[in-house]
């Protein structure tokens, strides 16, 4: 596999050749931030277009098809519209918190986005506690949502924020347990090592067989809830709360929530593909050497993005199939079904690993 560290090392050496150490680090940080933000925006646009098309296809419609060929620049037009819209100042709200809340949400989303391993050697944030950092950074977003609901001075926003907070905190339990299950299997928390392991030994979902597959399903459900997406979109249930916690936001402040929602979907899918489906590791079938060799020629980034979009499709399929859950059903699903299941999975996985039942 192509090792991306060659590129980063080359850039590093190039910068160091005419800059002092601290300046080179600064320039690299800025470059990486630019790349991350660009990718963030590009993926958001792709995802919004994909969502609209896929939603339409599931409902036997055609979706956007007027602006550009197959409506392909519809989303760009929407982005322009959102950028030019007025950001409305309201009376009797806590201005500071009202304006800060979207930034908290988007910062949390970008931090987690930076955790994704794109290729061999192309992970931006790669600690030895990668998964733990991912969970920690993801939990900042809740604060943003709660503050948005509170500072809007609107009962719908407040109810939406409370629901969202309860939902995200509850489902984080499942996500954490499922990730622990997979850490038991891999023995490491670093995203790059997890991917490398899967490239050498096979994807985790095959290595961990039954418990890993069940954990994958639990992760998809809990991750969907974490992103506040249907069928778990109680916080912004249009029919009862108009838009939930972001009902009072307009213009680009709303746009931040919108962006973060889609990118959280992408991040959720990206982590699922990293932990369960091998990340940038190509598909290898044991025994078919010719096939494996061909697969190795496909770059890792393509594998990563392809798998991620596959999982995104699964999540969209779920979203556009099921009706919205009531808040008590939603909490019952987590605390009575998913959490016990993930605890059982954790124990089963630990048993499998200690008895050598994994591949």
């Amino acid at each position: 596999m192509f090792d991306f560290t060659k590129v980063t090392n080359w850039i590093d050496a190039l910068l160091l050749s005419f800059l002092p150490g601290w300046a080179a680090t600064l320039v690299e940080c800025v470059l990486v931030a630019l790349v991350i933000i660009t990718l963030y925006a590009v993926f958001a646009i792709i995802l919004i277009y994909m969502e609209r098309k896929i939603c339409a296809f599931f409902q036997c419609r055609l979706g956007p098809n007027r602006v550009g060929k197959w409506g392909s620049i519809q989303v760009l037009a929407d982005v322009l519209k959102m950028l030019t819209k007025e950001i409305i100042d309201m009376k009797n709200v806590d201005r500071l918190l009202h304006k800060m809340a979207p930034f908290l949400v988007i910062v949390a989303s970008m931090l987690t986005f930076a955790c994704l391993p794109w290729n061999k050697g192309a992970g931006v944030i790669d600690f030895n506690i990668g998964i733990f950092f991912f969970l920690a950074a993801g939990s900042i977003g809740v604060v943003g949502i709660l503050l948005a609901g509170w500072s809007s001075n609107n009962k719908y926003a407040l109810i939406g924020a409370m629901r969202s907070g309860a939902q995200i905190i509850s489902y984080e339990v499942s996500i954490g347990l499922v990730m622990l299950t997979m850490i038991v299997l891999t023995g490491t928390m670093s995203f790059s090592e997890i991917c490398q392991q899967q490239a050498d030994l096979g994807w985790n979902i095959f290595r961990g067989h039954i418990p890993a597959a069940l954990a994958f399903i639990v992760y998809l459900i809990a991750g969907n809830a974490e992103c506040n997406r249907g069928p778990f979109d109680m916080p912004e249930a249009e029919s009862e709360l108009t838009a939930g916690y972001h009902v009072e936001y307009s213009g680009m402040h709303f746009g931040f929530y919108y962006l973060a929602e889609y990118l959280n979907l992408f991040i959720c899918a990206g982590i699922a593909s990293t932990i369960f489906l091998g990340g940038w590791a190509p598909l290898h079938i044991w025994g078919l050497d010719g096939f494996n060799h061909v697969m190795d020629y496909i770059p890792g980034a393509v594998w990563m993005v392809g798998k991620t979009f596959f999982v995104v499709f699964l999540l969209m399929w779920i979203r556009w199939t099921f009706p919205r859950l009531r808040i008590d059903q939603l909490l019952a699903l987590e605390w009575k079904y998913l959490m016990p299941l993930s605890l059982v999975l954790l124990v089963v996985m630990a048993l499998c690993v200690s008895l050598g039942l994994t591949f």
Binding site: I54, F57, F58, Q59, C60, R61, L62, N65, W317, I318, W320, T321, F322, Y337
Partner: protein, 192 residues
């Protein structure tokens, strides 16, 4: 509330969720029924039930079925129909009511189809035209009977109770189509 319920509930839930997923996946691959209107206006076929605007079908001899009874005008809740009739002398001395002008205001019509239900002759119907937009409101008032058209003569008169609403009418079998004599005045012009 036994454990049994809990687990059977899970299996039932999973089964019904999978059914739902199956339905949407099938829908994902079915041909989309959306009509892309301006592009496909050549081959666009509206469904039969569509009520575009009122028309009076004429046959190839430029004959329509309207006898000018005015029932449609009375049935119309919006007063969008105005029937003008005149009385003509038949060769055998009988007087016969004849349609002069059948005016229909598309701008007032609410497409309730009461006029069509009221018509004893089946002389009017809705067509499936839908490109009815014009630049001037006066163009929405249309005359439905073609110039020079007249009532189709029927060989026999089965004629159900339809004309009963009209005047007694001592008609003969010779004058088959329901004609009511002596009532030349075009009934009160409906207030528009």
């Amino acid at each position: 509330m036994s454990n049994n319920n809990y687990f059977s509930g899970i299996f039932f839930g999973v089964k019904s969720l999978l059914t739902g997923l199956g339905v949407t996946m099938k829908e994902f691959f079915t041909r989309k029924i959306t009509e892309q209107y301006p592009e496909n206006r050549k081959e666009l076929k509206m469904f039969d039930r569509f009520r575009g605007r009122l028309v009076m079908p004429h046959n190839d001899k430029n004959e329509h079925k309207c006898i000018g009874c005015g029932l449609c005008q009375m049935a119309c809740p919006n007063g969008s129909i105005k029937v003008t009739t005149e009385s003509v002398e038949l060769p055998d001395g009988k007087k016969k009511r004849q349609l002069v002008k059948y005016e229909y205001d598309l701008g007032c019509c609410m497409f309730c189809e009461l006029c069509i239900t009221a018509c004893p002759q089946g002389a009017i119907e809705f067509c499936t035209d839908f490109e009815n937009a014009v630049f001037d409101r006066t163009k929405l008032v249309q005359q439905l009977n073609l110039p020079g058209s007249h009532v189709a003569e029927k060989p026999v008169a089965p004629k159900p109770a339809a004309p009963a609403a009209e005047k007694p009418a001592t008609e003969k079998p010779a004058a088959p189509a329901a004609e009511a004599p002596a009532n030349t005045n075009p009934e009160k012009p409906a207030a528009v």
